[in-house]
Symmetry: C2
Subunit: 304 residues, 2 copies
Amino acid sequence: MSLLVIGTVAFDEVETPFGKTGKILGGAGTYIGLAASHLTNNIRIVSVVGGDFPQSHLDLMKNHGIDTSGIKIIPDGKTFFWAGKYHENMNIRDTLVTELNVLADFDPVVPEEFKNSEYLMLGNLTPAIQKRVIEQMDPKPKLICMDTMNFWMDIALDDLLEVITMIDVLTINDEEARQLSGEYSLVKAARKILTMGPRYLIVKKGEHGALLFFEDQMFFAPAMPLEEVFDPTGAGDTFAGGFMGYLAKTGDVGFENMKRAIIYGSAMASFTVEKFGTDKLLELDEQKIQDRLDDFMQLMAVKF
Amino acid sequence: MSLLVIGTVAFDEVETPFGKTGKILGGAGTYIGLAASHLTNNIRIVSVVGGDFPQSHLDLMKNHGIDTSGIKIIPDGKTFFWAGKYHENMNIRDTLVTELNVLADFDPVVPEEFKNSEYLMLGNLTPAIQKRVIEQMDPKPKLICMDTMNFWMDIALDDLLEVITMIDVLTINDEEARQLSGEYSLVKAARKILTMGPRYLIVKKGEHGALLFFEDQMFFAPAMPLEEVFDPTGAGDTFAGGFMGYLAKTGDVGFENMKRAIIYGSAMASFTVEKFGTDKLLELDEQKIQDRLDDFMQLMAVKF
């Protein structure tokens, strides 16, 4: 089935204890698209870049089966740029540079031929923009998943509360779930958030895994303990891409399949952090993904 | 099979956002023993208390099938006392009072009839004392599990490194695993620690679950997301008690059974934190434990 991704396509510059990159391909839309591309086809992306964005990056996405015709190129604009530095524990990062550039005026127009996409993944963007994308879809997608962050809870809470009434799955981290709900207990937080609109809530806990809440049920997917976390950039977006890619491939949005999709999301994310930027995502194949899936099933395997 | 528990029997005074207790029954040995008592019998404890320790607390343990004849009572001494305060997130606690009292001179003598215990759980104590307990056992127990903490890594590392060559299972938290190994990655930390003596390493991550490492295999057990964490005191010790209680009951120390034991440990710990002190542990029955086990299996259930 078709998957439409809305999200940034950007330049990142990352410093970790393992080294420093130059300006590399980044952005939520990029990670979501590339991760999903390993699981399904018929992926479309809507984004914006500047004239400085190399054709080779667009070709790379195309070669992964992503329809990039919805990426608007603004010839005299500059591509969104983010630079950050991670400290040893990799949980804390300092943002060194955020240059919105062409993203500042991003008002995504969903191309006619994308409007019927069955799965819609809204990467972290201004809630008002996420809403305008949803309004352009026709018919309503089978499943809308949305990522957001505490920043929008701070400065655009009303818009955020409105757009989450229009979606099916919300992905946020544990601190954001607490902030959005005003509840410290994640169980209570989830119960409250599930009354705000989404049918499913995914609470991302980074290296501590992810929780899926649905009605009065919970599912927990661990993160894979790794030899080395090299660069956490894009892990959350990769998770979302793996999750939506699996759902779009299987076409089943029931709770049991959501669980499988979360394991796929976790598996894809566990790859991304093993190298800088998108490097690891680019060298994956079906066998490597299956092996990692097997590792996850081993990690969780217990029988009574 | 028989389980010998070495650990503190104490008074605790706890303050959480939910309220404040007076002096209540506490101590690692207490939590370990009570948790294990729900899963197995033939539990013995070696500890020390002062003349101020009420007979009713001893009776309570006896009523749970724990042989308390190894608890030395020092009539003119005072029982170990700890007071602490938890903040909203319950992960950080301030120790307000630590009065070692009779614990200061604790040099456990294992009664003759306890020396052949098949399972030995060494609660967090001075490594030198843990070692002297092991040396008194005859024959060597089928399984020795030991808990410790960063404090001993700071002030008695040589003793600690010696005693862990004599044990089978080490339980520590993630930060302690990092400190002991000098490795940030838990996978690397575990690999190093498994060369130091223990065959199994359990890394406790509190609300984020627990990891079991054995040879080149890993197993992850989530913590149960709860409506409310009321008082985290004793959660780690309860975990150890549930873990060892299940092993002693089943008599199987292979990797597959260790996984089951960790789920039992996690289940028992999830109860303890729901009320102050040992209150919740005291009101459990077989059905409640089975229901919680089922909840855990639900939380982890995914099929491909």
